[in-house]
């Protein structure tokens, strides 16, 4: 299953992927494009990915989450151009107990944000645009 996709994401479909009769709690994170970023009005956003590697990294993160939290976890990330309000990412984690489901969802989301090679190019209401690089992660920064 491709986890970097260029079409609209479906949260209910991701929920179904992790459902199971022995898993009573599912936590879903849905990220959508906000209309502002650091005080500037956002009008459009484009996600660009190193797709082959991004797929491998997400798969590795999900496998690690399943081991760490004994959960079933799934995640998909949108690529290409998105309008304000569109869904950029969905992460779902299911477990018999809600604690583990919350932790696994949160951990997976954080790891994806930190490790998966995807970049965000924002276009602003004032006509400018830029690559959003949240903080310098180069090792000499």
């Amino acid at each position: 299953m491709a986890r970097i996709v260029s079409t609209a994401l479906d949260p209910a479909g991701v929920l179904d992927l992790v459902a199971g009769a022995d898993r009573g709690g599912t936590v879903l994170f849905v990220g959508t494009v906000r209309d502002h970023h650091l005080g500037r009005g956002v009008v459009e956003l484009e996600y660009s990915a190193y797709e082959a590697m991004a797929e491998l990294e997400i798969a590795a993160i999900l496998a690690e989450a399943e081991t760490r939290f004994s959960t079933v976890v799934e995640a998909v990330h949108r690529s290409g151009k998105l309008a304000v309000g569109e869904i950029s990412i969905v992460v779902a984690a299911a477990h018999a107990h809600r604690d583990a489901a919350f932790e696994a969802c949160r951990w997976t989301l954080d790891e994806i944000k930190q490790r998966v090679p995807i970049w965000k190019h924002e276009s602003y209401a004032d006509g400018s645009s830029e690559w959003v690089e949240p903080c310098a992660t180069g090792r000499d920064a």
């Binding site: 990220g31 996600y47 660009s48 990915a49 190193y50 082959a52 590697m53 991004a54 491998l56 990330h77 950029s88 990412i89 989301l109 994806i112 944000k113 930190q114 490790r115 998966v116 090679p117 995807i118 970049w119 965000k120 190019h121 690559w131 959003v132 690089e133 949240p134 903080c135 310098a136 992660t137 180069g138 090792r139 000499d140 920064a141």
Partner: protein, 80 residues
């Protein structure tokens, strides 16, 4: 030997290319690729030790390269 280099996002914008081939001495490392790129027009903005992936997995700067390796220089990621 020849390696393939991939650039993304702001790094691709700075260097004006998304991919290129580099000729390197045998025994060259991922860090040497970064050094070559920083010496190019537009390359001064690259950090000295950016994140690097070799053949689609993150690798340290001292990773020794093989002919045909694909070296990606990874700007700070921003998914989510």
């Amino acid at each position: 030997m020849t390696v393939e280099v991939l650039l993304f996002a702001s790094y691709a914008e700075s260097l004006g290319e998304c991919s290129l081939s580099l000729q390197l001495e045998p025994g060259a490392t991922a860090g040497d690729v970064v050094g070559e790129l920083r010496a190019r027009p537009g390359g001064a903005g690259l950090p000295r030790f950016p994140m690097v992936a070799v053949n689609e997995r993150y690798a340290p700067a001292d990773r020794r390269l093989e002919p045909g390796d694909v070296v990606a220089v990874i700007p700070p990621v921003g998914g989510g």
